[in-house]
Symmetry: C2
Subunit: 204 residues, 2 copies
DNA sequence: ATCCTTCCCTAACAAGTGTTTGGTAGGTTA
DNA sequence: TAACCTACCAAACACTTGTTAGGGAAGGAT
């Protein structure tokens, strides 16, 4: 039974994590293609070739960064979706969970946002497309349920609403910096308030 | 008086436009760094070296794509801002104008979204940072005016609201396809309805 | 003292990169 | 016909890219 591709002989998982974290930072800041393995090695304080003791390719670093992020994301999402909440409460929980994930995986989210589209065409990264489909099913389904229940407006294109909610949440990763003046929960609260009730003053 | 850098001897502006349009499509689809000049030449039906008859570098193609887009964008924005509308009407006009620009410059907007952040550090693309500052001033100022006038809610972080409105509009470029079922004006109308009034049903 | 494991370095590789140079087919002008 | 201009091709250039092979230093285990 041959081991897949080119596995590392021995390498500590802690060091891997460290290197993946710095790699993710560089990827997020410069873009994946614009990032050379020498830049990553620089940021990690070593030489380019040394990275290949821990990983067998630049692409597999990206792969591991994205897949571990998505795994953790879906852990949180599935918990929410299994709680059988009402439509509005589900949306609230999903948004809050999303901002927590942005807080924890800021770099990975930024990479995902920039590169996801053209990566998902590649067979190796097909799980990105799978995830997106599952994502759409969860959010769109909740919105439709909400319209049917009369808690969400029925005069809007649901698909447009879906993209609206989805994008408003995830683009926050492009400017969010952990340790800022707003906690993830506070940002989620304000975002939800805007998305649900709008920014205009109600004239009743 | 020496001409700057390496100007083309002679080249028709129409052909330049054509080539820039195809280059913008490839940049938008694959990302700037992942796009080789050979791919652009392929899409244009010629060889890589031939591009250098029209342009003096790959970077100057990107430059011309982004700067012409921003020029046209600010033409529209400045017209709106000079009309001395009320805060709410200004936001509505800006959003509508934005979707029209996305309709016209879909590829350029997509490129701008992906690459703007790390490009603006480069001196050549410093006008991107200038534009962003001007952008923020216009939108944030309008929002603050609206809060002062009592047409926008005062219980929200204005800067957060700004990012919210800005992002919801421009990320649309990532999925928008001209000739779809919704016109730019229709999309603007629904987006404004969501941003201003929220997606929840009002329980009076 | 010897061996082994972990982790990194040195030095090079082949492929791909943006770019340049010189040439040339076809149309326009003199 | 001759000169010229436009728009491209053919072929190479110097450099950067991801990746590999072999070696070696430090430290723990035997």
């Amino acid at each position: 039974m041959p081991t897949k591709k080119k596995p590392q002989v021995t390498a500590s998982p802690e060091r891997r994590r460290e290197l993946l974290d710095t790699a993710a930072e560089v990827f997020a800041a410069q873009g994946y293609n614009a990032t050379t393995v020498r830049k990553i090695a620089d940021a990690a304080g070593m030489l380019a070739g040394s990275l290949y003791y821990h990983f067998d390719s630049k692409e597999s670093m990206l792969d591991e960064i994205l897949s571990t992020f998505l795994t953790e994301l879906w852990e949180g999402y599935d918990t929410v979706l299994a709680s059988s909440l009402g439509p509005r409460e589900t949306i609230e929980a999903l948004v809050t969970e999303s901002f927590r994930e942005i807080d924890r995986h800021r770099a990975a989210v930024a990479i995902y946002q920039k590169e996801s589209r053209h990566l998902s065409a590649q067979p190796r990264f097909h799980y990105l497309a799978d995830s997106q489909a599952k994502f759409e099913k969860a959010w769109l389904g909740t919105l439709e349920r909400g319209v049917a229940d009369g808690v969400f407006r029925d005069d809007l294109d649901v698909r447009l609403t879906y993209r609206f909610v989805r994008d408003t949440v995830w683009v926050a990763a492009s400017w969010y910096r952990p340790g800022g003046q707003h906690s993830p929960e506070e940002i989620a609260r304000q975002y939800l308030s805007m998305v649900l009730d709008g920014i205009a003053v109600r004239t009743a």
